[in-house]
């Protein structure tokens, strides 16, 4: 109720004062925002007459005898419609709203989702996946393929170079303004390709460097646009369904153009008024910054959104952020109820995972992202003791629990020579007692495997997944003897240079980008023992993730332990091939080669620490590029299988085991999360569980 009246007011102000005045009005708006909260409908009335009717939405229902709508809406919104503060639901929804079939059962309107985050970033703590992230195409709930979302139709030219997107006609931003091809073109032409905003060229992960020269976007009509690529681009839709595709729904032209020099000559002056140097700074402060940071949606109430909830109370320096339903949300359930079901989302920040876990156990929260494997028993115990908690299982999308990388581009020539020898990696793999690790670290869940697509994936590769798995010290020694035949008096191997052979194994301490990675260190500690048993000395060097970035820049990570996620379920290996081709950002096995294979921001001095890869590495990248150009799924699978053949042959990384089922605690009253839902970064953590159709069952 609060927001909409505020938005109305803003709109009125905007129409009256013109776009330039908007920012100033926005700051003077709080008075009317607060007022209507206490007295029901009288207070905001005076503001109404000044509201010039927006072209797309008359303020009053035109005919009293309008046919009953086939759509239902939340009682909260119905009241506002009755009060004349909001156009009726038919006019708010697009002509062809996206129909979301409830994943558990049909919900009911109302209630507040109480979500807990760790740290102060509402976006990364988990708010992003609940309230904001929308794509042109989205994942099917089983992650098997993409389906239309903001776009209702996608046509691909036979050569895979031209994509024609048709947007749902009548989708509106949360301020009631239409979402059209102009917004998309604004994003691509005026932001991405703007030399001042992006001096280094377009920064968008859906547009790989190989596709940049010759790429263009064309508007066909208000709701249709084309993306034309220089080369065939078969995996575009996968990329658009992941994080990489976020930017298409991030740039409301009607709002952002006031900060853009090309549309507002006074943008620089506006920047000066805000104490900034130029319009570029202003644009990045008001809109998403260079890399499409979604923080604005959490911080700026007047920023128009396409998400199910919009912020009314940013977190600021406090501990809670409040979101209310977007009255223009463009999805309905299969009975024609406009989504989302829940009226509000309140996100509360906690200092550390433990205090958040206590709040969750206490019933103060409905949902948390990343509950932490270490707390699994606590939640189950609490549930069994009758606390209001229910737990569903989550299916990890990743191919493995752990990946062990030997940097084949190490700046140490001895290590480089040894690491590049496949027998060394085979020997090390056979030296690992995976069953024991599974029992100790992974609570007996999962089975030994290398890092590879899952059995359920169309890209499953038998050899890649199962080679060199058995724990066999004799076999390990046999392979290692081919590489490091000489030993000292204690049975420890000597390097090819005759000196004691020793590897420094970089391992992260407890956290990696906020996630708990204690298990990595635990696995590494066990592996050091296994490696010692076959005469290979490995010394752990445990660092915090802040130091890792520095070590990467100077190529000082010779051996690394990392997660084995991504690239497991569905087709994900083709749009996140980090374990299978050299040169990927998170492929530590090829880190020392990476500047020679892909673009780099390293200085020449830093680059001197890196080494040139053997020529076949560029071929592997080319092979993968070809796979991404295939337009049909069959061709993609066939081409990607070739990449995986090569990966199996090279045996880049050592894996431990297939991940067991994860768990997701929620409050008992929260319904709509399907058991066994896929989990991972590529499916958007909980976005794939469609938070817009979650609902509060009681209480």
């Amino acid at each position: 109720m609060k927001t909409v009246s505020r938005r109305k007011f803003l709109k009125a102000a905007a129409f009256a004062a013109g776009t330039v005045g908007l920012a100033a009005c926005a700051t003077s708006a709080p008075a009317p925002t607060e007022a209507p909260a206490a007295p029901p409908t009288e207070a905001p009335k005076p503001a109404e007459p000044t509201a010039a009717p927006a072209p797309a939405e008359p303020t009053k229902a035109p005919e009293p005898a309008a046919p009953p709508s086939k759509f239902n809406e939340s009682p909260m919104l119905a009241e506002m419609v009755k009060a004349g503060k909001l156009p009726p639901v038919d006019q708010r929804l697009p002509e062809n709203p996206q129909v979301v079939t409830p994943l558990v059962r049909e919900g009911k309107y109302g209630g507040t989702l109480r979500q807990g985050i760790v740290g102060t970033s509402v976006t990364w703590g988990g708010g992003l996946y609940t309230v904001q992230w929308e794509n042109l195409v989205q994942w099917k709930p089983d992650f098997s393929d993409t389906e239309p979302s903001l776009a209702e139709k996608i046509e691909i030219s036979p050569d895979g170079r031209e994509y024609t997107f048709t947007l749902r006609k009548g989708i509106k931003w949360s301020d009631g303004q239409p979402f059209t091809a102009d917004d998309i073109l604004f994003y691509i032409n005026d932001v991405m390709f703007n030399k001042e905003l992006n001096p280094g060229g377009p920064g968008a992960d859906w547009l790989p460097s190989s596709q940049r020269d010759g790429f263009k976007a064309e508007k066909v009509d208000d709701y249709t646009f084309k993306l034309i690529f220089p080369n065939p681009y078969g995996t575009l839709l996968y990329n658009l369904a992941t994080w990489s595709g976020r930017q298409f729904a991030q740039y409301p032209k009607h709002y952002l153009q006031q900060f853009h020099k090309a549309y507002n000559e006074k943008a620089d002056e506006l920047a000066k008024q805000e104490g900034l140097e130029n319009w570029v700074q202003l644009f990045f402060r008001k809109g998403p910054d260079t890399w499409g940071n979604p923080d604005r949606f959490m911080d700026v109430p007047e920023y128009p959104s396409l998400g199910p909830w919009v912020v009314v109370q940013p977190i600021g320096s406090g501990t809670t952020a409040k979101f209310t339903r977007n009255p223009y949300y463009w999805k309905v359930d299969d009975k024609g109820n406009q989504l989302p079901y829940m009226d509000e989302v309140i996100i509360t920040a906690y200092q550390d995972p433990e205090t958040r876990a206590l709040a969750m156990l206490n019933g103060d929260l409905d949902f948390i992202k990343d509950p932490g494997e270490g707390n699994r028993e606590l939640y189950f115990d609490a549930m069994n003791e009758g606390k209001p908690i229910s737990i569903i299982s989550r299916t990890p999308d990743g191919g493995n629990t752990i990946s062990i990388h030997f940097n084949q581009g190490s700046k140490n020539p001895v290590l480089r020579e040894v690491f590049q020898n496949k027998d060394f990696r085979i020997g090390m793999s056979h030296a690992i007692n995976r069953e024991e690790i599974i029992e100790v670290v992974f609570k007996g869940q999962g089975k030994p495997a290398q890092v590879a697509p899952l059995e359920s994936s169309p890209l499953y590769h038998e050899k890649l997944a199962n080679q060199y798995l058995e724990y066999d010290v004799a076999k390990a020694n046999e392979h290692l003897d081919k590489v490091l035949p000489n030993k000292d008096a204690n049975g420890m191997r000597l390097g090819p240079d005759g000196k004691p052979f020793s590897i420094i194994w970089t391992c992260l301490d407890q956290n990696y980008t906020g996630g708990d990675v204690r298990s990595w260190l635990q696995v590494a500690e066990l592996c050091v023992g296994y490696f010692k048993a076959v005469g290979v000395e490995v010394k752990l060097d445990v660092i915090s993730d802040a130091v890792l970035g520095e070590r990467r820049r100077t190529n000082d990570v010779d051996m690394f332990i990392f997660h084995g996620g991504e690239g497991g379920a569905g087709m994900s290996a083709i749009f996140d091939p980090r374990w299978h081709i050299p040169g990927e950002y998170w492929g530590f096995f090829s880190h020392g080669w990476s500047p020679f294979l892909v673009g780099t921001d390293l200085t020449d001095e830093e680059k001197a620490n890196f080494v040139e890869p053997p020529p076949r590495m560029a071929e592997y990248r080319k092979m993968f590029e070809e796979a991404t150009q295939k337009t049909t799924r069959e061709e993609q699978i066939a081409a990607m299988k070739k990449v995986l053949d090569a990966s199996a042959e090279e045996f880049w990384v050592i894996g431990i085991s297939r991940p067991g089922l994860g768990y997701q605690p929620t409050s008992k009253r929260l319904v709509g999360l399907p058991d066994g839902a896929i989990d991972g970064w590529l499916p958007g953590t909980h976005k794939i569980m469609r938070p817009e159709q979650w609902f509060i069952a009681e209480g």
Binding site: E354, A357, R376, E377, D381, V441, E525, V528, S544
Partner: protein
């Protein structure tokens, strides 16, 4: 001792006389020892401290297992109850443990396996070791008679390692690594403070200003920055030693100020004047006459510094900027107890805290006693 009361025999009994006479001629060290002996808490404290240091030095002998030894079937196993007698005969043993894992919550439910009796004893043969890397052996003070048998008197950690053995091994790092820093800061403090107080004038002014500058350097951010700039592959213990040394270079100032103050006061005292007139050189003046008179303060500050350094190792490691695994220290061990799950389900992971508390208390009692003893003439 001999109180004069009117009308009473004033000559004390012979033995008292003897004591009195010996007190008059006893050296200062003897006086200190007599005074120290009387403080029961201090004596207990010193026994505990010595015990901890002996245990740390010969950790391999005292611990039943090596800190790396693990049994995959005993991850998070609770402490095994200890039995000493079987059928009335001395035959110490523990029972094996077994667990059932709930397939959904993955929670282990432990129960005692009465079918497996694990005999243990004193001076048993176990894993071979080299004490401090020199003295080889394979005898352990106590442990299972079959070295492969599970033996978890204080429970097991997340990787199925023996908590007791790890606490004993951890003492070696926790009790020693920071000592370097403590003594370094003591030496620097006494030297610079002494120079400042003895010479006075311009030297004093310059040194005092330097002290003020050093005092204003924030130590925690500096430490975090230092920890980040260490070259990759430096052994973690070495990193920590470097860090403590640098901290010592910052923390000598308090000691220096106190020493300077005492020097300024003392150099005007009559007994110093007397010594000087006797022709005592500057070195003798300082170390024979001045230092003993503020020895009590130095001892007190060392005995406070040692627990402080152990607590800061524990604290910094707990925060993740001190020592890191695979180093075994009390602080590193306590990091595993940062989770609620630990407190609720595996409280034995908190046991290293008991070791810290015991040692720090003992050290404080010892320090109290030493301080009082160092000033035997004080009443």
């Amino acid at each position: 001792m001999a109180t004069l009361a009117p009308g009473l025999e004033t000559t004390p009994p012979a033995e008292v006389q003897e004591a009195q006479r010996s007190a008059e001629v006893a050296s200062q060290w003897k006086l200190m020892w007599w005074k120290f002996r009387k403080d029961k808490l201090a004596v207990v404290g010193s026994v505990v401290v010595i015990f901890f240091y002996v245990m740390a030095a010969f950790a391999e002998f005292f611990a039943p297992k090596s800190p790396e030894f693990f049994n995959p079937q005993y991850v998070y196993a609770p402490p095994q109850p200890v039995y000493f007698f079987l059928d009335g005969r001395w035959d110490p043993f523990v029972y094996g443990l077994k667990f059932e894992r709930d397939p959904v919550s993955l929670k282990k439910t432990w129960s005692i396996d009465y079918n497996t009796r694990i005999p243990w004893g004193f001076f048993v043969k176990g894993e071979p070791y080299k004490i401090l890397g020199i003295i080889p052996g394979d005898t352990h003070l106590f442990g299972p008679k079959n070295p492969k048998d599970p033996f978890y008197l204080m429970g097991a950690d997340k990787s199925g390692r023996d908590m007791l053995s790890r606490i004993i091994h951890a003492a070696r790092i926790s009790l020693t690594v920071g000592l370097v820093g403590v003594f370094l800061s003591l030496i620097i403090g006494v030297t610079i403070g002494g120079i400042s107080g003895l010479f006075g004038g311009m030297v004093d002014v310059v040194i005092q200003r330097i002290i003020e500058i050093v005092n204003s350097v924030p130590s925690l951010p500096l430490m975090m920055a230092l920890a980040a700039t260490v070259p990759p592959g430096t052994p973690p213990v070495q990193v920590y030693v470097i860090v403590t040394i640098i901290l010592a270079l910052l923390s000598w100032t308090g000691m220096a100020r106190v020493v300077r103050g005492r020097f300024l006061a003392l150099r005007e005292e009559d007994f110093i004047l007397a010594a000087r007139l006797d022709g005592a050189g500057r070195g003798r003046l300082i170390f024979r006459h001045m230092v003993p008179s503020f020895l009590s303060h130095i001892i007190a500050s060392i005995t406070i510094s040692i627990p402080y350094m152990i607590l800061s190792e524990t604290g910094l490691s707990f925060l993740g900027i001190g020592l890191r695994p695979p180093v075994v220290s009390w602080g590193v061990m306590l990091r595993d107890s940062q989770q609620i799950a630990t407190v609720v389900n595996y409280p034995w992971l908190l046991l290293p805290a008991a070791a810290v508390v015991t040692f720090v208390l003992a050290m404080n009692f010892l320090g109290n006693g030493l301080r009082d003893a160092a000033d035997p003439y004080a009443n």
